[in-house]
Point group: C6
Chain length 194, copies 6
């Protein structure tokens, strides 16, 4: 039974936790990307949550983007040499894969490194490239329905996914605000509370 | 024959040993999470007991949670740089997997790091996330029956598993006290004797 | 749907990003090789984008060529000991393999190490050997059609692929300028703006 | 032919060598756990003898137990940082697995680290847990017959295996003395000559 | 098409590049072993070109032979601690395996380490052992035909392959000079220009 | 053809090379264990020759035995920290496995470490255990016939293989001298010229 429960949005109390939208074999779902830092003399990136190779690559990519843009993101570079980064995606029993949690991972890690909280009732989905470009992803309709069910109020998507939103019956979209973006910097501007 | 013996609760003499509840192909079972520390110049996390990948991830997650919350848990951070952590789950002939030993692993490691013993006749089952949230798990009825058979008196479960307990005939629950929790700090407060 | 969108050329604003031509199961495609450097005490080559072993070897080969020819390429050798090199090929959901991105990878890495931008509206395809020789690759017709669709104006190919161009209807080639090369130094001379 | 020869007890001349009892596809067998220490600047645990994963875990577990209890076992802790530990189980052509050599491995390693010889004509079988508890194992009847054939005089077993001994015809047990134990410290007290 | 083009001999301009003879599913072929050195604080042997395990072992063996015979080969031993060795075999799309490139690899690496060029229009095929013995290999007829087609003038073979040459129609051998050798030192004497 | 040639004994000119006897799918064969040392700041054991896991373990075991008995074997222990050990078994195209080259490997490595040559026209076959015990191996008849064909004059075997020799027609054994041993020290005494 726990495998199929539909989760609810859980507030923005935790730094380093961001709500993503996933499209699984049982339909749309929200999922949480959790990031945590801990002191380490030999810092690495630790990934847990039954993640496939492409999803693991998204996390590697996210951390590399952050390292290469530390100054712009206002992150103290010495953290990369002193803190282990752990990214976890509950729930361990469910295999997860694909690139669509890319922007969620960058946002979660940036939140953890800067200490900035994430905006309330916000979810997001989108692939990121190494230069920070946001790419469109699939399963938009199912993800939006899941976001509503979970009490999400704002959603960040790639601008190339706007056409997918326009195909959804407008009554389903009531109470949801959309942000269509093309660069990860727009995502971080919208998502992080400074 | 040893593969199918039903184990009994074994007391709380050992620091670092916590009783979990498992749901295997032969029904409910209690299992022991054993943690041991040993001096090491290059400390790692060693995992034995024929564990699958998801269960190994639970142990990685547990250690990372403890490292990131060392101050709150009253753990001397220098231990992480001087002590190897070994987690073992007897019995080696039986493959074990899944996320439901998560809270048991955190409790066992925290017991080992703090030196606090674990409450008598207590068992637990539940997945933990990186921010310390406790998630519901399956097989509750079978696990509760196994707990009774093993002379367990108190059980810690996720509050979302309360509905599973309410579906069990009350005569089966006689003599068992339940703790329904949502955060790992509640688990540690109940389980560790200070 | 995102799996089959046809991409457009995206400008030359980013140092370290070069446009390649790929031949996939769904026809010709342009792809972007993105390279990024970040400070590291133990620099490695990080490869993401769902790459197969042969494509990963192309990146290893590219970096080795650059290291062995640092002086000729005007690259400060100390960078190899202080900067992590990350090569990413969007889009993560699509497996990619083969040696034909070889010259694109060398160009992208050299752009990142030297800080030189890449010529506007240029794409390329070709295998490279360790001594810098450019080898012919397959799927030329499909790649050229994809280049036109994507608004590419100049294409670099191995001189042994000239015969493949001569077999394409000339109306298809209108507006495209070709460079036929045999050594990677010609590629870098054409591609990098100094 | 060598694959099926029945071995004999071989004396207790060698420190670090202990006789175990195994249950293989061709019946009961005695086997030798050989341990050897050698100086090393980067000591590791080396395992040979065509061992499966569970049997390798038994050796890891054994070494960890010894490290965590070095003081009680009277072992100089500096040895762990200067000596490589090699555990070998002849005969390389035969795959071996399972947890039942656990107590034999602890005894062999403790003999090697302390320099104490092992009692004459003694064999043993049993799984060990990280806290030192001895668990019952299978194939007891076949193992006991093999022990007699091999001229063994004393056998150490888990107390939970006593019932298996009681089911064996007493004439088969003539000349054999049994030790039923529940903790590894009892095993070491019986087995090591001080 | 590129997969089946027949290559030509390409001159001896590059130090570290040696022409070998291969026998593939599409007949005899020449192939190039390319070696390159680059400064490194932690030198390793990097192998690319879609090589199977046996061919990778040939490269490991070649480097070990050279290290063990550095003085005789007039190689500065400090190079082994400061230079990364990269061996590449174009073309990446074609899997390659087998021990018959052994002597070609030693020659290519020795050329790179000494800076000596390789004799013009020379090709070779043969397995090498760790003590430098040259062993016979298969596919001699097909390899010789490929050598002629590629404008090769001299071929080095194991003396035990002389019988295979004697079975080839003499008109096919016109214009080819053979060297039959039994030790790698003979190969290097013939191949390297001092 | 090279796969099935029957090799001949090749003299004892090379330190570190010892002749073994193998039993393959095509009958008995002699094989050469070649050992070479080379200076290294981070010495390892390198194994080549298309060896299976059990045969690799024999080499690990051999080196560990030598390290643990360095004093008795008159080997300067500092060599273990300064010299890389490479063991190769020609011919790379043929997969090899099994424990029966154990005593041959110890002899080859000891020859390399001490600089002592190996006795002329001598071959051997037998498994070794970590304490130096020699175990019997299979295929004795086929191996002995191969030894004769290869001009071997003396053979070292485990004393438990004496019964296998007694079953061979005595005319086949003419000109062969046998040494039946039970400990590796006897092998080294017979094989190494001091
Ligand atoms: Ca869920
Ligand atoms: Ca996508
Ligand atoms: Ca049990
Ligand atoms: Ca679950
Ligand atoms: Ca695309
Ligand atoms: Ca090609
Ligand atoms: Ca046996
Ligand atoms: Ca068991
Ligand atoms: Ca070719
Ligand atoms: Ca061969
Ligand atoms: Ca042969
Ligand atoms: Ca054997």
């Amino acid at each position: 039974a726990p495998l199929f429960t539909k989760d609810l949005y859980e507030g923005n109390d935790y730094i380093g936790v961001v709500t993503g939208l996933a499209w699984t074999s049982v339909g749309g779902e929200i999922l949480f990307i959790e990031t945590s830092l801990s002191k380490s003399k030999a810092p690495t990136l630790t990934l847990t949550g039954n993640l496939g190779n492409v999803m693991k690559e998204s996390a590697i990519l996210a951390l590399e983007y952050i390292k290469a843009h530390a100054t712009q993101l206002n992150i103290d570079e010495s953290l990369f040499e002193t803190m282990n980064v752990h990214v976890h995606v509950p729930e361990g029993a469910i295999p997860k894969d694909g690139p669509s949690a890319g922007i969620t991972m960058v946002t979660a890690m940036t939140s953890a490194f800067t200490g900035h909280k994430v905006k309330k009732a916000l979810a997001m989905t989108g692939e990121m490239t190494l230069r920070g470009k946001v790419l469109p992803v699939g399963g938009i309709k199912e993800k939006i329905l899941a976001a509503k069910r979970a009490n999400i109020k704002e959603v960040i998507l790639c601008h190339e996914n706007q056409k997918d939103i326009e195909e959804i019956k407008s009554s389903y979209l009531k109470g949801l605000k959309f942000h269509f973006v093309s660069d990860i910097r727009e995502v971080l501007d919208i998502a992080l509370i400074k």
